[in-house]
């Protein structure tokens, strides 16, 4: 694949296409695993999942089992969940608090800091055997930005903040909602598979062009519940103004005027009259703490952020974290959580979770139709030899602002995907 070329980007001819082999070919996925998932900073979890020393959660990222935990000194660590002896996972629980991790196969045990501290029958090992060499392994780099923990499997990874580039501003907007400056993951995890290529979910997560046609039933529900959905201006397809923006390094965002309510802090009739004073109180706190302009920025826009390659933060009618990893060219595993301000009132928390469910998740009024759309695309892609190109030129001839329904942000993802895939390995 030295002549690897799946993205046709021709600004002079105002042309931008993606070759559909990129979404079906197993060789492309192999290459993605090595050149993207093994190279980029990948979301590993949220600091609030491990509050106390010894707290841990286990999950799989980039095909590897990991333990996200807090060590005895209170530092957040990521260990590869694999015994140094013969390779079994050392922690099989979903989450908990542990003094250490013991491999049940032959009984090697590790302390909270990953040091090998127990080897049954240790005297049978040669004198050269040094248990200091056999602690739990970690990805070469683990770092955190405002509570979001990332890992990179690349030895020469650049610093996280440099990698995040313009995405930092949008993570700041999320965290600034919290009076304490801390957000927390809310209990309850949505884990589901989609029979589609993982990049289709990247596109879908910030593609507002599909809203009116894919999510008509959700819009109808919102209208019926009293939410005012403005009629799009002539030539437009969205009820409110919004823009698409590139944030550097493949990260991108859509940034929209809010029409669908926000727990922090924009009331809509769906929340009920009794919730009005609480939303107003949150708004007042926000304005007092951040000033009216920043408060408006936080509360009156919705942002769907993609952190390259596979982290989506939807900050709107609730805050969702969604990450996904491919298991085959036509299958991915998705994990989604709700995030809320730490020490949020019970009332505000209830509104947040309720409005999450109206749109998002496997039982929501919208996400299942997105999943159906992606699976429908994947089915259609089987004809990629006859119909090889997907067209991604919306807005490409506009000199200035790009709308949320244009495709600048999708092109940004694909341009960087192409760069990673073609760079000298």
């Amino acid at each position: 694949m030295d002549d690897f070329r799946h993205v046709l980007n021709d600004p002079d001819r105002l042309d931008f296409r993606v070759h559909r082999a990129a979404l079906v070919d197993p060789a492309v996925l192999d290459r993605e695993m090595r050149r993207i998932f093994d190279v980029c900073w990948i979301y590993a979890g949220h600091e609030s999942e491990v509050r106390e020393p010894g707290d841990f959660v286990t999950r799989t990222i980039c095909g590897r089992p990991i333990i996200l935990c807090r060590d005895s000194g209170g530092v957040i660590r990521v260990f590869l969940n694999v015994c140094r002896h013969r390779g079994a996972v050392v922690c099989r629980e979903r989450k908990g608090n542990a003094k250490g991790y013991t491999c049940f196969y032959h009984g090697w045990s590790y302390d909270r800091d990953g040091c090998l501290d127990g080897v049954p029958g240790a005297s049978s090992y040669p004198a050269s055997f040094d248990r200091k060499e056999f602690g739990l392994a970690s990805p070469p780099h683990v770092d955190m930005y405002r509570g979001f923990v990332f890992a990179s499997f690349a030895r020469d990874a650049r610093p996280l903040e440099e990698y995040l580039a313009g995405a930092k501003e949008y993570l700041d907007l999320v965290v600034d909602q919290s009076p304490t400056g801390e957000m927390e993951l809310i209990r309850g995890t949505q884990e589901y598979a989609i029979r589609a290529n993982w990049k289709l979910l990247v596109e879908n997560s910030f593609d507002d062009y599909h809203l009116m046609s894919t999510h008509k039933t959700w819009l109808d529900y919102m209208k019926k519940s009293g939410v005012r959905i403005p009629k799009p201006p002539k030539g437009h397809v969205m009820p409110a103004h919004g823009v698409g923006k590139a944030l550097g390094n493949g990260h991108a965002v859509i940034d929209n005027e809010n029409f669908r309510g926000r727990p922090v802090a924009r009331w809509i009739p769906l929340y009920g009259d009794e919730a009005k004073p609480e939303i107003e109180r949150i708004r007042a706190e926000l304005e007092a703490r951040l000033g009216p302009e920043r408060a408006r920025r936080v509360a009156d826009t919705n942002r769907n952020l993609v952190v390259f390659p596979n982290l989506v933060v939807n900050d709107g009618s609730s805050v969702t974290i969604r990450t996904f990893h491919p298991t085959a060219p036509d299958r991915m595993e998705v994990t989604a959580w709700a995030l809320g301000p730490k020490a949020e009132s019970a009332k505000a928390r209830a509104i947040r979770l309720d409005s999450f469910l109206t749109f998002y998740g496997p039982g929501g009024f919208a996400t299942p139709d997105d999943v159906e759309a992606l699976e429908s695309v994947q089915k259609g892609l089987a004809a990629w030899r006859e119909v090889p190109w997907s067209v991604m030129t919306r807005g490409i001839d506009k000199p200035g602002e790009q709308l949320n329904t244009d495709e600048l942000h999708l092109r940004e993802f694909w341009i960087h995907w192409d760069r990673y895939m073609r760079e000298a390995a």
Partner: protein
């Protein structure tokens, strides 16, 4: 009040509800619900929470149940167009408690969902119902479907009434 409602009668009621749902007679199904009815499906890793503080898959009050039914009847609910074929198996029905005009009922379920291209999925779990006698008729005050799978995984979505 509920002493007359035997386990067999509760079972018959659940079978009737299952038949309506499998036949997609959703308006008739709405007629079985009490005015304060809730319908919930918890996240697989948090089956014992409360939707005001825990993320669920579904936590509907009657207004949202009605919205859900309106959506499912619309051909633009793409994930359920055409409607899935479903078949519900309900067993191990037990009356756990009687309190005034309400009774708590649990049952096991397997709900098969069939889509084109031999896509078959089996939703396995248990129902927790609160049934209420309203003017001599059985009505559903709450129904919760708790899935046994460790994660939703290949089941994908809960896009029909589980």
């Amino acid at each position: 009040m509920t002493a007359s409602l035997t386990r067999q009668a509760a079972e018959d009621f659940l079978y009737h509800e299952a038949a309506l749902l499998d036949a997609w007679k959703l308006d008739e199904w709405l007629g079985l619900l009490a005015g304060d009815c809730v319908y919930r499906v918890p996240s697989n890793d948090a089956p014992d929470g409360d939707p005001s503080g825990t993320l669920y898959l579904i936590a509907d009050d009657l207004a949202r149940i009605r919205g859900r039914v309106a959506r499912l009847k619309d051909p633009q609910a793409h994930v359920e167009f055409p409607h899935s074929r479903t078949r519900r198996m309900i067993s191990n029905v037990r009356i756990l408690d009687r309190d005034g005009d309400e009774l708590s009922v649990e049952a096991n379920f397997v709900v098969y969902r069939f889509r084109r291209d031999e896509r078959v999925s089996a939703f396995v779990g248990r129902y927790r119902y609160r049934l209420r006698i309203v003017e001599g008729l059985v009505r559903i005050a709450s129904r919760e479907a708790i899935l046994d799978a460790e994660e939703l995984g290949s089941l994908g979505a809960v896009s029909f009434i589980l």
